[in-house]
């Protein structure tokens, strides 16, 4: 749509601008402040330059948490996006079952995050949880509170349970919006199902898939509550992702300087990755 240039439109944006600025800029400045100062308590601060940044960027603890975070996000994206797409493709398009499917599938999305954690905490317990009992009865020794691998399996499974529906809903909406004429044309040409998917459905889904991948990337990179309630970052540090490490540092040990420096690095990583992905997708779309 060709838009008119009119700076008076700013007036319409002012309320949003003010509210988000209040919520975003002031806290961000607080974080920046902490990140370049040293404190010995009593609200006395000294300038410390980029020392905290050097400390964080060189610390093994940060590297380990970052690595765990990247592996987790990659795993989650690799499972949820194809799975969500497949489920959306297999869903009925018309009839009474559509509503039933949508309502049931959207349910996990509306459960508070710590309830999700608590629910899986109980569900996966080896003695009184259904999942734990089931896996152990298959002859596999499984106890997610003791085994790092078991904790990872449970965390990833919980995230798949929690968020795949978002991908399904987005893809389903994209699929429904494809006009029937496209499918009829494909039928006339005698296209195989694979060809229909590759040359009609996938291109039309590109936009919603971009949104789904972006949202899933951002949210899985910021995951906190569910994992804290499920495993508490353990056993050991095996499921301590970036947010959990950050909160441990800031509120647990009250190392505000390093924690603030880490916050900024963390935020910049998400921002940069999202911006890169977004620009790449948009460039492809323009072509």
């Amino acid at each position: 749509m060709n838009k008119t240039f009119d700076n008076r439109a700013w007036w319409l944006v002012v309320p949003v601008f003010l509210m988000v600025a209040f919520n975003a800029l002031i806290p961000l400045m607080t974080v920046v402040n902490f990140s370049v100062q040293e404190s010995f308590g009593d609200n006395v601060f000294f300038w410390s330059g980029v020392r905290w940044f050097e400390q964080v960027l060189n610390s093994e603890r940060f590297h380990a948490a970052l690595l765990r975070q990247i592996i987790f996000t990659a795993l989650v994206l690799l499972i949820e996006v194809p799975l969500g797409l497949a489920i959306a493709l297999a869903m009925p398009r018309k009839g009474p079952w559509v509503s039933v499917c949508l309502v049931l599938m959207a349910l996990p999305l509306l459960i508070p995050w710590n309830v999700v954690g608590a629910m899986w905490n109980i569900f996966a317990l080896p003695d009184i949880g259904f999942l734990g009992k089931l896996i152990n009865s298959l002859g596999i020794h499984y106890n997610y509170t003791r085994q790092p691998l078991g904790a990872w399996f449970t965390t990833v499974l919980m995230d798949v349970w929690h968020w795949t529906s978002l991908v399904v809903l987005l893809c389903y909406a994209g699929l429904v919006s494809i006009p029937d004429a496209y499918y009829q044309a494909a039928k006339v040409d005698g296209a195989r199902p694979w060809a229909v998917f590759r040359y009609i459905q996938l291109p039309k889904l590109k936009h919603v898939l971009t949104i789904a991948i972006l949202l899933r990337f951002m949210d899985s990179f910021m995951i906190y509550t569910e994992v804290v309630v499920l495993t508490g970052g353990g056993p050991g540090n095996s499921t301590t992702f970036l947010s959990i490490d950050l909160v441990k540092m800031a509120l647990g040990q009250f190392d505000l300087g390093p924690a603030a420096a880490m916050s900024i690095v963390y935020f910049l990583i998400i921002l940069l990755a999202s911006w890169l992905f977004y620009t790449l997708m948009m460039r492809n779309e323009a072509r």
Binding site: T4, V20, A86, I87, W113
Partner: protein
């Protein structure tokens, strides 16, 4: 042809299992939960639910949560409406940068902002109020609402606006009487997402409240640590946090299918 419906069916069963397990536990006595593994409650009890509905420290948690979630949803959608209109209809100085900046707030980890938020809202005297949580949640909900609404508004042809102005409608009258009803589905979808993200977020809600505005899910964590292992009570509280969400989904189910398809989302 019928076989492919197996995929959504299996998926839904997978989704329902943990929820069933929670419901199952909420009807059990603590003895039965800890006593062994049972697939359904053998001694059905409603006492967990009775406790929640008679004890103010429990049920006020629900009232608090719903209060700030509704405040946040109304606030986010109200201020996002004119902004989304501006983005969808006009170009103005710095519009693209502003849009990306707004979205970038959706990417800010709550863990990063928890402590500064606590300081900020204590400084302005809003600590432990519903308004504080509602305002804090606008950080990620306003950008989302603007994004969704902008998509829907761009789908409405510009001729609608122009005809109205030619007919002599002033801007606000056109906006409220004609434009808003046209994009009702979009508003439904935006409100749904605002409700959802405010309802499920807890790190900020917990940080910004102490007693008066404590959200229900935070009350749950407190019980878990102080009064030992009351799993049945916890499960019942968990089940009750699913109920409002289920209601909202049920009411907007048609909007979701249609709304998603109309908008760019």
């Amino acid at each position: 042809m019928r076989k492919r419906y197996l995929i959504p069916l299996i998926y839904i069963i997978f989704l329902m299992l943990p929820i069933y397990w929670l419901v199952n536990m909420s009807f059990k006595t603590t003895n039965e939960i800890l006593g062994g593994f049972t697939l359904y409650p053998h001694q059905l009890t409603l006492s967990n639910y009775v406790t929640i509905f008679t004890d103010p420290s429990w049920y006020m948690g629900y009232v608090n949560s719903i209060t700030y979630v509704v405040m946040n949803t109304v606030l986010s959608v109200l201020v996002a409406l004119p902004a989304a209109y501006a983005f969808s209809r006009y170009r103005f100085l710095g519009d693209k940068h502003l849009f990306f900046w707004l979205l970038s707030n959706r990417m800010a980890p709550a863990a990063v902002f928890a402590l500064p938020f606590l300081q900020l809202y204590s400084a302005v005297g809003l600590f432990d109020t519903h308004l504080a949580v509602a305002l804090a949640h606008t950080l990620f909900n306003i950008p989302l609402a603007v994004w969704i609404l902008e998509g829907f508004m761009s789908g409405v042809p510009k001729e609608l606006d122009e005809t109205a102005y030619v007919d002599g409608y002033p801007f606000w009258k056109f906006f409220i009487r004609i434009f808003i009803p046209t994009i009702a589905a979009g508003i439904g979808v935006a409100a749904f997402f605002c409700f959802m993200f405010s309802w499920v977020e807890l790190l900020l809600a917990k940080t910004l409240t102490a007693v008066a505005a404590k959200p229900i899910a935070a009350a749950m964590t407190k019980t878990a640590s102080t009064s030992g292992y009351e799993l049945g009570l916890l499960a019942a509280a968990g089940v009750l946090t699913i109920v409002p969400g289920a209601f909202v989904i049920y009411f907007v189910r048609n909007y979701i299918a249609k709304g998603f398809a109309l908008g760019r989302v």
